[in-house]
């Protein structure tokens, strides 16, 4: 009977021991699985371009993972992420904007979510990242530190940039085409070109006007330029300044400018601006300008009809 009792106790003990063993084994297996899962997670995050950095408000790095090292393009410099501990964030990257701009946001708001941040790697490549940063307590010292989860979106950003650049180029090209059409150069005779200006002149168009005129002078070997401003509707000091620059530029290219069709308003602006157009010939209309241009090149108009008198 006693034997039986003993054996019962023994069985119970063995059962308990076995149970414990199973629990332990389960734990081991679970732990193993966990580590495998976390390793996979780590790898996945790395591939997805996600990284994590813990750092102090003064920029000192407390810990960094491989994903973040990959974003900073420092995997080959620091094969072991632990070697980065104690370095400053400024050692890992080159700031493109104001240093500490992100940290000031985090300090003020306790976090920074979905913040677009660009920097250069120490190798000089531009990177764009999305930052999710939170202030947490240091497990040992209790001081406020920053936990940052960063996601590399450089490729996406470059694609967007490329598209925007293309769009801008198309817009610029279209504008150029419109401007070329709106500032024609008319060669009227050997050495004389006419450039009629129509509409309003903004600084963008003024620059094209100047460029078109300089090209026109070279192309037609112009010695005299007649700038007809009859069609210029709105006048301000900016326009007169641009006209003055255009005339000076033509002069430096070797061509004399005659301005025709100056309205009373334009004349007043010129005087009020104190711009000295004393050396620039100004005439009331295009016909007078053309005659003056011909005269200055030593060309005279002679009527071939015997019975008509030429009046000036």
């Amino acid at each position: 009977m006693a034997d039986l009792e003993m054996s019962k106790q023994e069985i119970l003990d063995e059962l308990l021991a076995a149970q414990q063993e199973i629990t332990d084994l389960k734990a081991v297996i679970a732990a193993h699985d966990d580590s495998r899962i976390s390793m996979n997670q780590q790898k996945m995050l790395e591939v997805a371009g996600v990284g994590m950095v813990l750092y102090k408000f003064d920029g000192t790095v407390l810990s960094i993972d491989r994903g973040a090292l990959k974003i900073f393009d420092l995997e080959d410099v620091y094969p072991d992420p632990r070697a980065v501990q104690g370095k400053k964030m400024g050692d890992l990257m080159v700031y493109t904007g104001r240093r500490g701009r992100l940290r000031s946001i985090i300090r003020e708001q306790g976090k920074a979510q979905n913040v677009l941040y660009d920097f250069k790697t120490v190798k000089g490549d531009l990177r764009w990242c999305l930052h999710d940063s939170y202030v947490i307590q240091h497990p040992e010292t209790g001081e406020d530190i920053i936990q940052a989860i960063i996601r590399d979106i450089t490729e996406q950003k470059l694609a967007e940039a490329e598209q925007e650049r293309l769009q801008q180029e198309i817009i610029e090209a279209q504008q150029r085409a419109i401007q070329e059409l709106s500032t024609p150069i008319i060669p009227v005779m050997d050495g004389i070109i006419v450039m009629p200006l129509v509409g309003s002149i903004d600084s963008l168009r003024a620059k094209d006007l100047l460029r078109t005129l300089l090209e026109g002078i070279t192309h037609y070997r112009a010695r005299v330029v007649i700038l007809d401003v009859t069609g210029v509707s709105i006048v301000d000091t900016g326009i007169v300044n641009h006209l003055d620059k255009t005339i000076q530029a033509a002069r430096l290219k070797g061509a004399r400018t005659i301005v025709t069709g100056i309205s009373d308003a334009v004349a007043e602006t010129i005087v009020d601006l104190g711009i000295d157009w004393g050396k620039i010939q100004t005439l009331s209309n295009l016909q007078a300008g053309l005659l003056a241009a011909l005269r200055s090149l030593g060309i005279q108009l002679v009527s071939t009809a015997s019975n008509t008198t030429h009046s000036d």
């Binding site: 493109t96 000089g124 531009l126 967007e160 940039a161 925007e164 650049r165 801008q168 610029e172 963008l204």
Partner: protein, 139 residues
């Protein structure tokens, strides 16, 4: 990813040769970034003016040319020296004012050629000028 022409560069400015080298590089960098010849020329001229000013007033200094090929590309010039500094910044920016016998058009003219132009200066400590030109004008 970044072509060598589009890397940021710093020159130690100690003589006219350095200024010439810096402005030549600036011209090429600006062209590589997509600036038209006239706009690139203006950038080069600004580098030249700032470089000459360093030689004239501070004898030596640094010029950094940084192209930024971001969404909207721009070029940034930083000229810094530990020279005498500028006493009257407003007057220098207004133009026609000089203490060296020049035309007084270098700084004021440079500002007109660029989209952004900032001067940080303290008498006796030095001058830092930051100038930016954008590839596309903001609308």
């Amino acid at each position: 990813m970044v072509s060598p022409r589009l890397a940021s560069r710093t020159w130690s400015i100690e003589g006219m040769v350095d200024v010439v080298t810096a402005r030549r590089c600036g011209l090429k960098t600006a062209l590589s970034l997509g600036f038209s010849t006239p706009e690139a020329t203006k950038i080069a001229v600004v580098i030249s003016e700032l470089g000459r000013n360093i030689l004239l007033y501070a004898e030596r200094g640094l010029i950094t040319v940084s192209p930024h090929s971001d969404t909207l590309p721009y070029i940034e010039i930083i000229a810094q020296d530990h020279g005498p500094g500028i006493e009257d910044v407003e007057r220098v920016l207004a133009g026609g004012y000089t203490t060296s016998g020049g035309l007084g058009k270098g700084v004021s003219g440079s500002r007109r050629l660029m989209d952004e132009f900032e001067i940080e200066t303290a008498v006796g400590e030095g001058t830092k000028i930051r100038a930016v030109k954008r590839l596309y004008r903001r609308r």
